[in-house]
Symmetry: C2
Subunit: 622 residues, 2 copies
């Protein structure tokens, strides 16, 4: 352990005391689980929800801590073994997930607990499906899982930050394409179709999308803490009431002048969702059903009596949000043009500055942010920039820190995976560049990754195809040479929303994905990583569009992808001998589009150096 290590002796003593304190629980509990999420199962969380980090010191994005009377253990995956072992003191055992010898949380609990133990967890921060599995496993060994209503970490966390309540931003039709009233009507018709009386919205991005509102409660994600309950004639929005005092927000939600009774929104404090849902459930008719995501918190799920509960893996909002309308597509295109302008400017600047030896991973990322922030309607980054030189590029979820910060040079590959939130759209792009002379091996592997990128981007496939069926196309060229990469190929991308969203994606791991449809937006990002040497990834955000191949089997129709990202792919890194004519044509056509579309905008913005760079980088390859 290093200076980074959090000392947890006293905290663990306090937590164990709380586990026996009748102020919180009727009977002492023998173990307490601290999951890493918030009450909405968000991927990124606010500081007030970093409870697992508070108790053990480990601040990675994934990990679960469990404390018993004698033990404290924390489960995380391969990305974080090193970091976790440095951040946790020796009161904690690191449970390395994915290793054969590592016990699961359930098996570990069963192995260390005395007979008939009680395990506690905050029902608000454990997802309903996880609760179910854990509860079943513990019961089979004679233990029981109980919901502890007061969070025991909060009980001992003296300087816990308050829950953010940032200003709400209202989005007009020019950005959303649909009013929230339209979206509400569409939701209700889905409910009617499936004979559902109520829908409980718990995912923050779904609520933001439904109401055409944005916030900044969580870094990188333009969302705000809220719940919504929608009935056929009722809309209840649970949110910090102070936020609704702003006239533009009141006007947007028609709080004072509702047009129709069924579109009048009743607002209530964020915390009151529990009692309000109880009230709704108490008045349900015998056959009435309530839709709720199976990833909702156990607390909310259990409010709904089993006979009325209809848990679903993807809510109708999640599905509707994934298929972008014409306005959203137009916005995403605009955002990607602005983003490309910033990146062309950045790469032209890097070319000039790198030889001076003064550019580092951190300063390059900062420069990228600065250039993006000059673009219209810039809001912030869409995730922490992965700015990595040489061996750091092989660390897939790398984020430069002062102690790892490497200088960009003419000798090492530079990988930049970054993106931004603009009011009209969200971007996510990776380019891998060499500013000197890449080795034959670097070019060879880069070219395999490019072949995989093209194979997905140019793929034509039947309507109704799920994204995971395209994953192997991205790997074929690498596999042929005995290479591979250990991450998925693509994820759904929100429109001025989360950079990662369901229900579609391109991954060998996901089989629960929904079929791709025209209007969906995903990333295409194969890679190759040589531990200790370099990392390569080529990522575009692509739009699913109809394709018109020669035939149309069973009138099913076909789909393909259109790149939204328009940033040149460095030709210097390509071994053109390894490309087929079709692949060379794809690269040249892509670069023609970059030159045409981004060139026009660079011209308009008068960015001469970036323009020269763009012209040079988009020369046709032979």
């Amino acid at each position: 352990s290093t200076s980074d290590t959090k000392i947890t002796v006293e905290l663990l003593r306090q937590l164990r005391q709380a586990m026996r304190n009748t102020k919180y629980i009727a009977e002492p509990i023998q173990a307490y689980i601290v999951p890493s999420g918030d009450a909405h199962q968000s991927e990124y969380i606010a500081p007030c929800d970093c409870r697992r980090e508070f108790i053990c010191g480990f601040n990675g994005s994934a990990g679960t801590a469990i404390v018993t009377e004698k033990h404290a253990a924390m489960w995380t995956d391969g990305r974080y073994f090193l970091q976790a072992s440095q951040q946790m003191d020796n009161n904690w055992t690191l449970m390395k997930m994915g290793l054969k010898e590592t016990l699961s949380q359930e098996d570990w609990l069963i192995s260390v607990l005395p007979e008939n133990s009680t395990v506690g967890v905050d029902p608000w921060i454990i997802a309903a499906d996880q609760w179910k599995n854990m509860s079943k496993a513990l019961a089979s060994a004679g233990h029981s899982l109980v919901a502890v209503q007061d969070n025991l970490i909060d009980a001992i966390w003296m300087d816990r930050p308050t829950r953010p309540s940032t200003q709400l931003l209202t989005l007009g039709l020019g950005f959303t394409g649909l009013t929230w009233q339209d979206k509400m009507t569409a939701l209700r018709s889905k409910m009617a179709e499936r004979k559902i009386s109520w829908f409980v919205a718990t995912a923050l991005d779904e609520i933001a999308w439904l109401f055409n509102l944005r916030g900044s409660d969580i870094e990188y994600n333009p969302v705000f803490f809220a719940y919504a309950i929608v009935g056929m004639n009722t809309i209840r929005l649970f949110v910090d009431i102070k936020r609704l005092a702003v006239p533009t927000v009141r006007e947007h939600l028609q709080l004072d002048t509702p047009s129709k009774v069924e579109l009048s929104i009743q607002t209530a404090p964020y915390e009151s969702v529990f009692t309000e849902l109880q009230a709704v459930c108490a008045s349900l008719g015998p056959k009435e059903k309530v839709w709720i995501s199976d990833k909702a918190s156990c607390a909310l799920m259990q409010v709904i009596p089993k006979t009325h509960r209809s848990p679903i893996p993807y809510t109708p909002l999640c599905l509707a949000k994934a298929v972008k309308n014409a306005t959203e597509i137009q916005g995403m295109k605009m955002a990607h043009i602005k983003d490309a302008v910033a990146l062309c400017e950045l790469f032209a600047w890097l070319e000039k500055e790198i030889p001076k030896g003064t550019v580092t991973e951190i300063s390059a990322a900062d420069k990228a942010e600065e250039l993006r922030s000059q673009q219209k309607d810039f809001v912030g980054l869409s995730f922490p920039s992965i700015s990595s030189v040489g061996p750091n590029g092989a660390i897939i979820h790398y984020r430069p820190l002062p102690e790892t910060n490497r200088t960009l040079s003419l000798n090492e590959i530079y990988l930049l995976d970054s993106g931004a939130q603009y009011i009209d759209g969200t971007t996510d792009v990776t380019r891998t560049m060499h500013f000197g002379s890449p080795s034959a091996y670097e070019k060879e592997t880069f070219t395999y990754v490019l072949k995989g990128h093209i194979a997905v981007s140019a793929a034509i496939f039947p309507n109704g195809t799920k994204g995971h069926l395209l994953d192997s196309f991205a790997r074929q060229a690498l596999w042929e040479s005995g290479l591979d990469y250990l991450h998925g190929t693509g994820h759904g991308v929100g429109c001025f929303l989360n950079v990662h969203e369901g229900p579609c994606g391109i991954s060998y791991k996901t089989f629960a994905d929904e079929p791709l449809e025209a209007g969906m937006i995903v990333s295409d990002e194969p890679g190759y990583y040589e531990d200790g040497l370099f990392g390569i990834r080529i990522e575009n955000v692509v739009l699913v569009v109809p394709a018109k191949p020669k035939y149309n089997y069973r009138n099913k129709g076909s789909l393909t992808f259109e790149p939204l990202t328009l940033v040149p792919i460095q030709a210097k890194m390509v071994n053109t001998d390894l490309l087929t004519q079709k692949e060379r044509d794809w690269v040249n056509e892509y670069h023609r589009q970059c030159r045409e579309t981004i060139g026009a905008e660079l011209e308009r913005q008068g960015r001469k150096e970036a323009m020269d760079w763009l012209i040079r980088e988009t020369q046709p390859i032979a």
Copy 2:
């Protein structure tokens, strides 16, 4: 309905009487389910197990009948809608699975049953996982599923055939590569590894494989009715005792002179497995676990108390059987050489005979069987031959019948999907031929199918890859032109065992498949079907072998396929302009191997006409 239709008025009256008869059940049942399988969930079943066919007349391979006091309904899939509607009289409602408006069995039962109904099923012919789902669904609507020990179809089936008890064939080391004692020891070490005390074998092919025995109780599948229960020091084999009177069998199983006590086999009648398993379970220690397939019958599963039960999707025998040893691989190669000899002879003969207008789908299939039967160690066909001309080829599971029998001609495509059982191996091959001049469209689509076939066969992929990740390679060329086929790409193939076996395969539908390993054998069979016109399929059986690409990422190693089937692919059907150089090379190398290997055997067997045909059909393409 046609002359094919079975009249079921009287049978249904009798069945409904049995459903109220206290001789069989304490209380009347309101519905009775008749599944299509046998007690081992075999894909093909013996005549005595064709209970669903007996009650409703429909004799397809998949379908479930349910009879209530007032209704009778039968569920089957799209392959069989026409056939089922012809074979069933109007007492039966055909439930078309896969159509949106068709209720599931559970939902239909709930919609027609009076409150608090009891639904009966024979627990021996419903798989444990199916029982669980059905029972849960019925319970949620206030009904209950009960096990009816006496099969009510058997009760009214006067001339029901007896269960076959064919002669057992013992296989020596020269065919199996491992003695049954070796296999038993390997099984026990897997059990010890996972702390399992007992294993119950219920799948017929697993039992045949384990004991190096074969039978002919079920057409096409060289298996025999049996169960086995294996403990760490005990082996119990449940089989018709008469079959064990043969000296070679007694010797093979060492029934009279067991070498070691833990390898001594206790034999017992087939029917006694239930009471013997009860006895085993009664003597289990508190922590002892019993392995059983989750596809075992509900009857056997429920004998094992829940705390001792360890149901598994794939048994250790299923996994061990899938990876063929060197002797089995050698046997499979020999079987495929003999099979190719028969097919070369057939195709040479067809070329000569077709112009006379005397060859039909049925006579061509018969000729193929006759030629195969001339080969050494021929046992029988491995499945009913799909011999189809023109539009019949578009019916994926076609089987020629006198009323559909078409004559082979110079104008229509001929598709032959056939295979055989030899003592050294099992074959399954599809070739699609044109004996006149194929149209440009026929050649175009054939070539796309060929490209897909090659893409799978030549694929290089990392060790540990599951077969379903290769499925899209087979479709890529078809998809690019807007075409597709609606079946999987490949299935596991047994060695002188079932032509379809788990746990591996190549399909977009299966995600529960096990990773491919060197020594596994699967089929590679993409197709294209133009309804009302023609069908195309190109199928080889291929062996998973290690590949040696340029690099070796993380020392994982790579795999590829080696074709075992060596029958020329008709060059006349190929539009060579659509092939890449790599694909042309693959075809030429494949044909070189056919000529070399099959040529040598044709020469040895003195089959001159087939030899001439082979030489001509294996000329390199330009």
